[in-house]
Amino acid sequence: MRLTEHPIVKFKRGKEITIYFNGEPVKAYEGETVASALYAAGITTFSRSFRFHRPRGFFCAIGKCSSCMMEVDGIPNIRICKVYVRDGMKIKTQNSFPNADSDFLSILDSIVDRFYPHGSHYRKFNKPKVLRDFVTKQVRRFAGTGNPPKKAFEEKGSFEEIETDIAVVGGGPGGMSAAIYAARTGARVVLMDENPFLGGQLVKQTHRFFGSGKHRAGTRGIRIAEILSNEVGELKNIDVRFETKVFGLYNGVVGAVEKDKKLLKIKAKKIVIATGAYERTLLFENNDLPGVYGAGGVQTLMNVFGIKPGDKGLIVGSGNVGLILTYQLMQAGIDVAAIVEAMPRIGGYFVHAAKVRRLGVPIYTSHTIKRAIGDKKVEGAEIVKLDENWCEVKGSEKRIDCDFICVAIGLSPTHELLYQAGCEMKFVPELGGLVPMRTEYGETTVEGIYVAGDVAGIEEATSAMMEGRIAGLDAAIKLGYGGEEAIRLRDEVVRDLKEFREGPFGERILSGIKKVTFEKEAISVSAPEREEAISEGIE
């Protein structure tokens, strides 16, 4: 299942090592995640769902969902798509007996649920008390996620306090651009990312980017990731913290954990949040079967780790992600059965559609997926035509043979940190969900907290880089760095971004941005004022 040759990417694999899956040795290479190593070995079921014991595989592959949780070296509920293999690592499936592949408890889904449907535990087995106690105990044994670790955590943790001008959360295109442009003015920057590398989702974008040459159009996403991370590396005033998870913002203090061991307390004058987005899923029968993956998840597996997701795929959604993924699958030598699109027309750029259409991939507009077919794994899919009222056309069902399904229907901003920091949020469908109110320079309603990239509204990497530049520059300018030149540069990027969004594709984004942009002086509440207000009991 591992790809050895690829037209665009050269896969570098580390030393061959052995990990143990439910006690069985599995070959893996250093630098792979546990999820990709298991997948390469043909293991697609990682655990079982906690209530109905339905099989679970990976979905997003970037640590944003909880589909791939397993027990790693005795610790339960680890997202194995974010854990890198180590020689001798012991991986176990959880919520299952005896293992996730053939789970005896799956009768909860197939049989028990038929007689005692969801909710019946409130009414049934209540009397006598003995029976109630017995049943409650059994139900509790079956439910829940994973088994608690047998022994207490023993490793020593450490602590570090850092003072800096600007803290940047997220090392994707937006975050890196913010860090670079702020650091160039002389500001001290701490850049944190949860991965052991920078680049965010650029690392799986093997296609050439759109936009203007000034903003690296015509260059592949993977190269842009290299260019930006090299620039970050060259700037001595950027302190990069890899494998660092930010868990909270507390009045200008960023709380984070580095490499699962060290607690970081970062006092920053300005904070740029560029946490990106996570993939949405779609409601259809069996949408939780292993084999139903997020489009980005498949890109990670295939373009970052060089592992084939399957032999033949069905793509749901014809936005740019779905179209580009189709092309990338074909480049890796994987068949694509079809692309289905619920809208009456293709959602992404025409040129992306043309690229796959001329290679013979059918695109079914006004169609959607009705169900995934399969028992433990996807074995096919049923698609159906939609009429102009978005209702299924009876009798138009069609079976598609495929062994995996990619859901490419869009993303939602990873907004949790902003919410926690008290930024004013607004639900804006045009921008993909809950997004923060911000000024034209990306500053939120909490003074000193900026946003850039998908977390500010789902768009794409080119605009994320521009937003990052603006936020990084503005934060630095407010701290007195950069002078006139920085102001001129910031305003130039603002103009470029405006021009970029002027076409028909920017219309939707612009109408969304209009709803969340405010003039700075009007409603901004600075953090100390806010604290004062809270302490005085005025909320």
Binding site: E5, H6, P7, I8, H207, R208, F209, F210, G211, S212, G213, A217, G218, T219, R220, R223, M330, Q331, G333, P344, R345, I346, Y349, F350, V351, H352, A353, A354, K355, V356, R357, R358, L359, G360, V361, I363, T365, T462, E499, F500, R501, E502, G503, P504, F505, G506
Partner: protein, 160 residues
């Protein structure tokens, strides 16, 4: 915008064809990019001002008389939407971007595909810009029946 329902362009939606005389002189860029998207590397790459665009969201229009066939634009187009067309000695030539393994070799026979992915004939590879010289996007010139140069937009290596 019915091309957005189909995913390919039909005859009437294509840009105007360069004249036969022009096609006989030297190769010419033919851009199949009908949608207003924020993208302009082709325009920026053209040294001869042969690609017309007022702003980044405009559809590129080629001035066939100014185009010298230098192939700068086809190398950078992220949409792989530019094709170089040419007539010579009664044969038609189309240069296409190609990003699939195996990369073809000079002299190899290929099966031509149209915009819908249907087989429309056969051609012979006459020139290749190696993928490593253009960040993995090879440019491949295929010799074919002159009738086919406005149809053939992809190929499959025979026997693959």
């Amino acid at each position: 915008m019915s091309f957005l329902v189909r995913g390919y362009l039909e005859e009437k939606e294509l840009p105007p064809r360069p004249s036969k005389e022009r096609l006989k002189k030297k190769s010419v860029a033919y851009i199949e990019c009908p949608q207003e998207i924020p993208c302009s590397p082709c325009f920026e790459s053209c040294k001869y001002d042969a690609i017309l665009m007022e702003n980044i969201n405009d559809v590129p229009i080629v001035d066939y008389e100014k185009c010298t066939g230098c192939m700068k634009c086809i190398r950078v187009c992220p949409g792989l939407a530019i094709f170089m067309l040419r007539f010579r000695n009664g044969k038609g030539y189309v240069t296409m971007p190609h990003e699939f393994l195996p990369y073809p070799k000079k002299g190899q026979k290929v099966i031509l595909l149209n915009r819908r992915g249907e087989e429309i004939g056969e051609g012979t590879v006459t020139w290749i810009l190696p993928p490593e010289r253009n960040d993995k996007t090879a440019l491949v010139t295929v010799e074919m029946d002159p009738e086919l140069i406005f149809e053939a937009r992809a190929f499959r290596i025979k026997g693959e």
